[in-house]
Amino acid sequence: MRFIPLLLVAALCATHSHAQEDLLGLLGEEESGPEYTNAAFKTTRVINGHSLENTAAGVLDFRIGHRFGPVNGGGREAYGLDGATVRLGFDYGVNDRLMVGIGRSGYQKTIDGFVKYKLVRQCDAGCKAPITLAVVAASSMTTLASDQVPWYNPSRTDYFSHRLSYAWTVIVGRKFNETLSLQLNPGVVHRNLVAAADSPNDVFHVSGAGRVKLTKRLTFNAEYFNVLPDGLDEGFKQSLSVGFDIETGGHVFQLHFSNSAGMFDRAFITESTGDWGKTFSNPSDGAGVHFGFNISRVFTLHEPKRPKG
């Protein structure tokens, strides 16, 4: 009968633990569905090039891009502010993986369009992907008058196809932590017609971009497009841009310096004329960098399916 006192002790213990119980602990760990990493970049473009982010499903993103003249134009040119090239564009998120967009640039009066698809999405919980993998297919069409296109030659028939170019990009990126996101975005630009016989139609580049989050609403961004040797025509430079994203409620303002004036793939990857080395040079020595900005304003066209409460 020695165990009777033991039972009594057990009875007391049971009552005691009952009072202190962690009720939610009784349910055990919850199964949660896949939770994808979000906000690796503030918007769908790092500066000129695509970031690994998509426009959210059902959201229309109206984007206004400005690139001013070279800053080293001096005070008379208001440091470039007098001359601007503009791109107006609309992007739309078809679903969580697919987005499409069109735009019209003043640069060579070009219309461009693209499709971007996320094949793999980086995951915080519930799945294992350590990176995001996206592909972008873009094309552009120059609508300049026949005698104004850069390749104008009276002895050549001006076929419509001459005005087209294509660009394919693969984006592999990761949000390492709240502060740092990096991506590699190699790709190829195909030009249907090039200015000189020895210029390649296909221009390959191995490029990268990143951002550092400085405060909740401010990030520092940089991107570099590194065209492989012999890809660039005489007089054109590799594209390097640095800038800041400033986020307010429904807008993202991107302010930056870039040696590219164009805002679609062919233009900034293969036709950048500015030279970072001439940032402070006399304007007669050539163009330096351009100041520019992008404004992104989103409109929710279709609300996501959500519980009604």
Binding site: I4, L8, H18, L23, A57, V59, K216, V298, P307
Partner: protein
């Protein structure tokens, strides 16, 4: 001696059986909040709230994932998580407290009971004491619904709202809680 043995045994088991019979839980509870200003109305819903209520002791607990709140605008949801709730750092909001006003044996029959709930709410990693009233409705078929409305100030939980959007976001959020409990086996 046999009698004593039985007595001790039943005493040991009693709290277990009692408690097991009067606990209620849900994993699909509903919490929504609303911020209303002349400029903008913001509303978000969460239908994956977990709660356990021990009707015998009155102890009640809630837990929800901040990321499970859905908004009408994707960007609002991103900003809510990124800029205000910092949901990577503070993934959950919890409540722990006691519910008074209804006895376990009343739950067997249908009816509506006014109750008070008091305890500690943790949002954005910051504890605040809270006291509110609610209703428990029993439909007589075993369905038990708990409802409550109360207010929370983001400022009290260390959530900073910058001047630029001060006019878009209310100083106090109106919260609605609705739990449909089922008896725990």
């Amino acid at each position: 001696m046999n009698l004593l043995k039985t007595f001790a045994l039943s005493l040991a088991l009693a709290p277990l059986t009692l408690a097991a019979q009067e606990r209620y839980m849900t994993r699909t509870g509903h919490v929504d909040f609303h911020s209303s200003t002349p400029i903008e109305d913001i509303h978000a819903d969460n239908d994956k709230v977990t709660s356990v209520w021990d009707a015998t002791s009155g102890a009640i607990e809630f837990s929800l994932l901040i990321k499970a709140f859905t908004f009408e605008k994707a960007l609002m949801q991103e900003h809510f998580n990124e800029n205000y709730m910092e949901s990577n750092k503070f993934p959950k909001a919890t409540f722990k407290g006691t519910l008074k006003g209804v006895a376990a044996d009343q739950l067997a029959k249908g009816g509506s009971y006014q109750v008070t709930v008091e305890g500690t709410i943790n949002i954005h990693g910051v504890d605040q004491p809270i006291k509110t009233t609610g209703t428990i409705t029993v439909d007589g078929k075993g369905g038990i619904r708990a409802e409550s409305k109360f207010q929370v100030k983001p400022e009290d939980h260390g959530i900073k709202i910058p001047g630029a959007v001060r006019k878009n976001i209310a100083e106090t959020m109106d919260l609605n809680v609705r739990m449909d409990y089922t008896k725990m086996p």
